[in-house]
């Protein structure tokens, strides 16, 4: 029987970490992810886990310690947010290119500056091309479930890549919700033992990790790394199916909410999907054919599947909780637009930047977006594609 609990998103991830009982957790506190290593260090102090907890002096060191631990052959984890993730930047790439399946709880927060501690997605969106698999979570349950699945994905033979599990800072990280936890032994058997083929603490096979990779080799390594990311889509689905058998909770590359027969739709990430679902229900009650697509897996980007799910939509709004300063729209917009190019060219598609720096996004805001989509759908006039919702005009 699953355990019914009420936990904050951070607590849920910390509990997942406890149940996983990794070899090493190296972390540095940064709002709003601080609670994760805080709770976890209590588990360590209480003797509930066997983990070596490394209280490092910076996030650069946190990721470096995880890299060392993973290269040595251990399961390594960390948690961070915003500027902490930014300070890890160099090491994020090294973790991924060294093919070390580290797991990270990324509690999304606006990246400075100006300095701000509240939620948007500018931190993890900036790291989208670092070679990490990225899973996003609408609520505490998804943050917990994704975190447990992350290990199986990253450590898979065909993948060997680090995985970042993202949830919205404060909105879900600090909000207490009802949650269903797995029993410790079930988590243990689901994740299994991590047995890397090659690791630095193996005295029978001395190896070198992370060597100088000059022009004769670097390109081949990058090509191989890209292949692992391509392979991961299939494995993410396999792990999700196995997880569903265990929990009854279904996961996919993305979630379709009343999308089947929808004429207008949003593409959205993380907690605001919950707000948008309420709006969809209200619009549906009024006969409006509204739907939404919530991204779970952003890296690898499930382009083909998304194009297929959206191809019948008349007007589509891509919701970006991050600026990209490309001067043409946010990062999700760029992905979705390129996905639909040549596959579903008839869709009228606009971008909304929303909720930056923790600006509240209310049901009314989402309703405004749907109403503008209805107008686009009726008139066929797109107008400006690079839009904002919730900024004072």
């Amino acid at each position: 029987m699953a355990i019914r609990e009420r936990l904050s998103g951070n607590e849920a991830m910390a509990v997942a970490m406890r149940q996983i009982n990794p070899d090493v957790v190296a972390a540095f506190p940064i709002t709003p992810s601080t609670e994760i290593p805080q709770y976890f260090s209590q588990f360590v102090a209480n003797g509930e886990v066997d983990t070596e907890f490394v209280a490092v002096e910076s996030e650069h060191s946190a990721m470096s310690a995880c890299i060392g631990a993973a290269a040595a052959g251990g399961r390594a984890m960390t948690a961070t947010s915003a500027n902490g993730l930014a300070l890890m930047w160099e090491m994020l790439y090294i973790a991924a290119s060294s093919r070390l399946p580290i797991t990270m709880a990324c509690v999304n927060r606006a990246l400075s500056g100006p300095i701000n501690i509240h939620n948007d997605h500018s931190d993890s969106m900036g790291a989208r091309d670092s070679g990490w698999i990225q899973l996003y979570s609408e609520n505490n349950q998804e943050a917990y479930d994704n975190f447990i699945q992350a290990l199986r994905i990253g450590e898979h033979d065909d993948i060997m890549l680090p995985v970042m599990v993202c949830q919205d800072g404060f909105i879900t990280s600090h909000a207490v919700e009802n949650i269903e936890l797995l029993e410790d032994d079930k988590v243990k058997s689901f994740i299994g033992e991590y047995e890397p083929d090659h690791y630095m603490l193996n005295s029978k096979e001395p190896i070198g990790v992370g060597p100088l990779d000059l022009p004769a080799y670097y390109f081949e390594h990058k090509r191989q790394q890209a292949e692992a990311m391509k392979n991961s889509k299939k494995i993410i689905l396999e792990v999700a199916r196995e997880f569903e058998k265990l929990t009854g909770r279904k996961y996919d590359l993305f979630e379709e909410y009343k999308l089947n027969d929808a004429e207008i739709a949003l593409v959205i990430i993380n907690s605001t999907a919950g707000t948008a679902k309420t709006v969809v229900d209200k619009l549906r009650a009024n006969g409006v054919k509204a739907g939404l697509l919530k991204i779970r897996v952003f890296r690898p980007f499930p382009a083909e599947e998304i194009a297929n799910a959206l191809k019948h939509i008349k007007a589509l709004a891509v919701m970006d909780k991050a600026e990209s300063f490309s001067a043409v729209g946010g990062p999700l917009f760029a992905e979705i637009k390129s996905t639909l190019y040549g596959t579903a060219d008839g869709i009228k598609i606009v971008n909304y930047i929303y909720g930056l720096g923790g600006r509240d996004v209310k049901a009314d805001d989402i309703e405004t977006v749907y109403s503008q989509l209805s107008d686009i759908s009726k008139t066929g006039n797109i107008g400006e594609t690079y839009r904002y919702i919730g900024v004072r005009q």
Partner: protein, 102 residues
């Protein structure tokens, strides 16, 4: 893509066969890396002037002055990068330094 291949990497290795992350399984593989083609200047050993004083071999950062039976041999040009330290250290002008020809 777990690491099934533990063979030494050579410049003709294809992307499917290369060791993931560049993991290295053989010790002492720096020898396989021919750094001699970095050379712009080349030291030339003048055997007639050499007294075998043994000052030059330990100064070489690339161990490119082989020593056998307490005597130095000619350069290992596969690995000599042409830094010229040996030229400087020789008290007998037994090493000249010339421009590397293509």
């Amino acid at each position: 893509m777990r690491n099934k291949n533990t063979k030494p990497m050579t410049p003709d290795v294809k992307w499917k066969e290369i060791t993931p992350g560049g993991m290295i399984f053989d010790a002492g593989n720096a020898e396989d890396f021919k750094t001699g083609d970095w050379r712009a200047m080349k030291p030339i050993w003048i055997i007639e002037k050499c007294t075998q004083c043994m000052l030059c071999p330990p100064t070489c950062p690339d161990m490119s002055i082989p020593v056998k039976d307490s005597k130095r041999l000619d350069y290992d040009y596969d690995h000599c990068k042409g830094c010229g330290v040996c030229v400087e250290v020789c008290p007998f002008d037994a090493i000249t330094f010339v421009k590397e020809e293509d």
